[in-house]
């Protein structure tokens, strides 16, 4: 028995650990360091219909126990992602979750329609929460009705289950979660980054060229955990939890709060081996907790 295996819509995960979108590119860089087949899944970098060159630099700034980024969805565009990046990833025994982004509903639909046909794409992650682009992204994720409408439109064309990535930059995240569930979402991934800012103390001007950026890293974990805990009580679709996960204990916390699997983001930059390390440490942690299977963790906080 594989005590780490998790089954959620579209995804047979050999373990519940996956790198988060935007923190792992399309896997090539990390493939030089370890076998990507070790991972539960890979959430690839957001893909848009056309090539995007992203925001001006500086795009990142360090903050207390965290970092801000405003990359701006830089990616080679749908066609290249399918023909080159996804094709290349086929050599690994790992399901891919394709993060889909766009400016208009039609963009999302077009990307979803095509990318969901790729052999190794087992689920989509609808990016309605990127805080760093002027149009699209977060504008879809902060209004329940708009989020639901987009979810339904993508669901109608996708050949694989659709997970919706929620923004924490809202008053009531539960409302958005319920709305996308009602619109047919197969799962939820949460949270995206929190909008933040850092100033150059000398000049008083923002350090990041975009002005604001998305806050991530250990600093956001308490917020993310609280939101997963809240949403888990309100929906019955599975949640992939993320937000500052750095250690195996963080994984235990997110699953206890109600996540069925987790994604590791910023920690990949600090320790590129963090995902395989956590996977290796998980069984021992289950022993310590007296649990046979990782699924026994899910929603422990609510029982």
């Amino acid at each position: 028995m594989n005590r780490l295996a998790i089954e959620i819509p579209g995804l047979s995960l050999k373990n519940p650990i996956m790198p988060a979108s935007g923190c792992f590119g399309f896997g090539k860089e990390y493939a030089k360091l370890y076998d990507l087949s070790k991972l539960g899944a890979i959430m690839i970098k957001a893909t848009t219909l056309e090539t995007r060159l992203g925001n001006p630099t500086p795009r990142v700034a360090e903050t207390a126990s965290g970092m801000l980024n405003a990359i701006g969805l830089q990616n080679p565009g749908l066609e290249k992602v399918i023909a080159e990046e996804l094709k290349w990833l086929e050599q690994y025994e790992v399901p891919i979750i394709a993060n889909v982004a766009g400016t208009l509903t039609e963009d999302y639909v077009e990307v979803a329609k095509h990318i969901s046909k790729s052999k190794n794409v087992k689920a989509l992650e609808l990016n309605i929460s990127c805080p760093n682009v002027k149009c699209g992204g977060i504008t879809f994720g902060t209004d329940a009705a708009v989020a639901a409408e987009l979810t339904a439109a993508v669901k109608a064309v996708s050949e694989v289950p659709v997970y919706v990535k929620l923004s924490p930059n809202v008053t009531d995240i539960g409302e958005i979660a319920r709305a996308v569930e009602a619109a047919g979402a197969d799962g939820i991934t949460m949270i995206n980054t929190l909008i933040g800012m850092r100033l150059d103390t000398r000049t008083g001007k923002p350090v990041i060229a975009n002005g604001t950026g998305g806050l991530s890293g250990p600093a956001v974990k308490p917020v993310a955990l609280r939101m997963v805990y809240e949403v888990a009580k309100q929906v019955s679709i599975p949640i992939i939890g993320m937000g500052g996960i750095t250690t195996v204990d963080d994984v235990i916390d997110f699953m206890s709060a109600g996540a069925s699997a987790v994604a590791v983001g910023t920690a990949n930059f600090v320790d590129p081996f963090v995902c395989p390390n956590i996977i290796e440490q998980l069984p021992e942690k289950l022993d310590w907790l007296g649990l046979n299977h990782v699924s026994e963790l899910i929603g422990r906080s609510h029982r």
């Binding site: 935007g22 923190c23 792992f24 590119g25 090539k28 860089e29 990390y30 030089k32 360091l33 970098k45 090539t51 060159l53 992203g54 630099t57 500086p58 795009r59 990142v60 700034a61 360090e62 207390a64 126990s65 965290g66 970092m67 980024n69 990359i71 830089q74 890293g217 250990p218 600093a219 750095t246 910023t266 990949n268 930059f269 600090v270 320790d271 590129p272 081996f273």
Partner: protein, 258 residues
């Protein structure tokens, strides 16, 4: 191959005002091939500060498995690094990036190595390799002021060396370009690392020379995955952008739009 290793500090001293030289020992040195590559250092095992610090490699000794970095203790991270003692361990990821192409200079040729401030260190290993190959380096090293000048003698042992300070307190007064303008010897290639303004000046001064420039940009992962350190390229370059960490940090003149 890129490795991660806890390496031991074997030497650590301040060699100029706020400029530190640190020597680390470990197996990772086996992987260090090309001058101009960098390492990504975690200065603390806690979440503070969170990210690694990219620091260029100043010299490599593959026999003793030691390598040296030179850094300026300026921000939070490098100031913490400066407190490390001999015997302490430092988490090092590397070697990263692509260094200077020594194959571009043939034995017998004269080349110039132009460094500015904390951009000077990678030129030291480069110069050693060029000299080993029979290439004659001329070093032009620019600093703000006398108290931050370092490695003048060491570069002097490898070839002709000119030091220039902005305030004229040591060596020539002015910028590296001041010295270059008066340079009598012709050269085939230039290699440079320093502030962006200096890189721009080098490209403008020698539009027809073969040149290689080492860039700096704020980095996240250091591996090419996060897209934090991208630079726009010039129109004659085939790709739209390059990543300083994984495509660079060294690029041929004319590739990066500066």
């Amino acid at each position: 191959m890129i490795r991660q290793e806890r390496m031991r500090v074997v030497k650590h001293r301040e060699i100029a005002h706020n400029i530190y030289e640190m020597t680390l020992i470990g197996q990772l040195v086996h992987e260090m091939k090309s001058p101009g590559q960098f390492v990504h250092i975690r200065v603390s095992d806690s979440y503070e500060p969170l990210l690694r610090r990219p620091i260029s490699i100043a010299s490599i000794d593959r026999e003793t498995l030691e390598f040296t970095i030179i850094y300026r203790a300026e921000g939070r991270g490098t100031s913490m690094l400066a407190t490390k003692n001999i015997g302490d361990e430092v988490d090092v990821l590397g070697p990263l990036g692509n260094g200077f192409p020594i194959d571009e200079a043939a034995p017998g040729e004269t080349v110039v190595l132009v460094g500015g401030g904390i951009g000077v260190p990678p030129l030291y290993e480069l110069s050693k390799r060029l000299v080993e190959k029979g290439v004659k380096p001329i070093h032009i090293l620019g600093f703000q002021t006398k108290e931050v000048v370092f490695y003048e003698e060491l570069f002097g042992e490898l070839g002709e060396t000119h030091v220039v300070t902005v305030d004229g307190t040591h060596g020539h007064q002015g910028f590296v370009t001041t010295v270059l303008a008066g340079l009598k010897t012709d050269f085939s290639t230039y290699f440079t690392c320093g502030p962006t303004a200096m890189l721009v000046a080098m490209e403008n001064m020698y539009p027809d020379k073969k040149g290689f420039l080492s860039f700096e940009e704020r980095m996240g992962c250091g591996l090419g995955a996060c897209f934090a350190c991208v630079c726009k390229t010039t129109e004659q370059t085939a790709v739209d952008y390059v990543k300083v960490c994984s495509d660079g940090p060294v690029f041929a003149a004319g590739v990066v739009h500066i």
